[in-house]
Symmetry: D2
Subunit: 233 residues, 4 copies
């Protein structure tokens, strides 16, 4: 099955988690979609499962991803999130192994295989450089690097941070895209990370806790474009 | 928040689990909806999370239930099924504690409380009479009784089976509705259970594995009505 | 199989959790054993699995319980805690469904059945009066009542607290013993709860965080005896 | 903290899982210990947690490993297997991520770090070559390779099998020992795998389901020695 939109850098992930749903999610998705087109930045948006259909119907530039899925085949499995159902609802991909929904290694491998099978992109979260390098062996499309063991050391510059985590992944598999996920709270953070060489970054609370969520998302996407153009003149 | 349709006996639960999704689910839901109206039987239908919105929009006589939900509040919780999102997508209720998605006792209690809070019915599964009596203490709307310790004993008649499990629940809380969930594979099974005094029954594989699923669902709903009228002349 | 020591009120549960192990656990167990004899109070002690054998060998008046077990049969199941192995190591019983190790309802029922089968007492934790009443249906030997929904309300007296939670259990099954587990931090708390009519109480941090753990355990056991004699003159 | 016995090839893992416990486990451990000395083969034995202490006290040539442990620190965590308690009971190491006790990637990383901290060896199970390579990034002491995607293909020779899986691990980290875990049911299987170049192999059912378990274990250890000497003349 075809994946409709190709993920190319620079891109940006917005994770509503369980903060937002229904009509409010739909309205924000439309605003993000418009900004994504305006600044020519791919956006991965991960709404609640129940909102995948409505959001998918309403966007053109946004890649809708499920927050998680289960690797089961069609059949039994009450309460599961079936890969085929995620795809049929309009999703382009799935996030896996977030710290709030960790997977066993065997489960992660099975999910990546199932995603490949039904035509879903995979974005897999890593909590350290060692974990990112391990996950790279499983060949997902995107790895989210949040190397908590580097955060807060003070002596590590933004450039070194981006370089080390990206390098750990690319040395295993250069085709995997890397998203730098460290504590983005505003457009300045976005600019700095992308300007430092990152292919992508993203946020949950930066948008979800903003007074004007649509305006914040738009400002961040503008910062992605500006940072990217400065880093790749 | 209001629950739109009241659950009254006789009713019937159809559980697609991970057997069906997308357009095929939608088409079957419409056929079930029509038969539910024709025979004046309430139906609880539990599609994949991703199909709740589409199915809810398409039915009038069917109560759409989520297969499961998580008791978390609005906020963090990536990969979760938020009660508010389930409700906003159009669901009337939620199934909980199925053998394929078991809950801790504390988690079950929390889910029932959250369902109450957002206005969702609860249908809770029990795998024995002891478990059904325990769950009755938590006051869900419906309990599914699949007393595996009685099944296959041979000496227990249908009437005794229905009476014992229903009695265990009603003696704790007479307001709880009881669904008899023992191996329904065709309309004759449906008729026999309802005729024996059950308020409700249901199936997954009976419909999901039928050659003509819509026809089988219709035949089972007809059997519910016929059994009920025979038992309550 | 016989359970060696009978649990009779008043009794007291000391839960080392993961605070203590090895030689320190053994030394404390011996001190507790001596005090349990001195004040004629049954003590349930729940060491790490790895310490069950050594502690069991060293005590006479203390009932050694596992902190948890799995309901699996003899056979496969790597990483499990086999009921037969717990029994063979010298344990008299097992704690189940603690908030830090919650069980599904079906799992709890299976564990109680397996405990019965191999000859282990069961002490099951409940986080509310509704949960205590539900668990009572499964007929464990002891229920720990920590009705968090009553704690901190201010208007509820100790006597009411003990009466309500004990009553909820006993009305279902009068043979089940009830342990009142609310925030015991010193001998005065122990005295007050037992004096108010409780059959048992217990602590983790009250002993584990005491400067002199053996002395604190001894003082608490003395308070159990004193409170019991005052309440049952 | 020191690890007492060094793991050097050839070695052999015997996994009692939940098949055996108590006095029978102790007697078998003693027989294995004697054979391990006789044939100068290191043995990793993974009894139930409750048997670690007794078995450790009774053996000289056998490395006793826990079947699993939790990465929690000393403190709260009822029902957990504390790394310090495992070590204090006499274990030399811990098995992690077996298919019957799978770990999240973050949990596996945390367990390996905790094992390092308290002085326990780690033997980590992988269900495929991709997973083995991923786990190698986390630097455990031993990886168990059970590449299920190769098993049963027929066209793959023993030599190729051993070479591919060992190579995948060693190319990431040559210090990691590799145990070939494919379906050993008798001494001939043991000889063949070790003769093909494996550093180690092991079994559960091969010993646990044998009529004379001690004799079977002894025959397998003899086969390890014979195969090793033939492969390394």
């Amino acid at each position: 099955m075809l994946k409709n939109i190709k993920i190319v850098p620079p891109f940006f992930e917005i994770g509503p988690k369980a903060y937002m749903y229904g009509d409010e999610m739909l309205a924000l998705a439309k605003a993000i979609d418009e900004a994504a087109g305006e600044f020519d930045v791919r956006v991965i948006l991960t709404p609640q499962y129940t909102d995948i259909y409505r959001v998918s119907q309403a966007v053109k530039n946004v890649l809708v991803f499920a927050q998680h899925m289960d690797p089961l085949p069609v059949g039994r499995g009450l309460g599961s999130v079936l890969p085929e159902a995620v795809k049929a609802a309009g999703a382009s991909g799935v996030m896996l192994n977030h710290a709030e929904k960790p997977l066993t290694l065997a489960g992660l491998r099975a999910c990546i295989a199932r995603a490949e099978e039904v035509g879903l992109y995979t974005i897999v979260c890593a909590d350290s450089i060692a974990e990112a390098a391990a996950i790279a062996r499983l060949a997902p499309d995107v790895i989210v690097c949040e190397p908590t063991d580097l955060i807060g050391t003070g002596t590590v510059s933004d450039d070194e941070y981006v370089r080390a985590s990206t390098g750990a992944v690319k040395s295993v598999n250069p085709d995997i895209l890397v998203l730098q996920g460290a504590g983005i709270s505003g457009p300045d953070d976005v600019y700095r990370v992308i300007r430092a060489g990152a292919e992508a970054t993203g946020t949950t609370s930066g948008v979800m806790k903003a007074a004007d969520k649509a305006a914040m998302a738009r400002a961040m996407l503008e910062a992605v474009r500006r940072g990217w153009d400065a880093a790749h003149p």
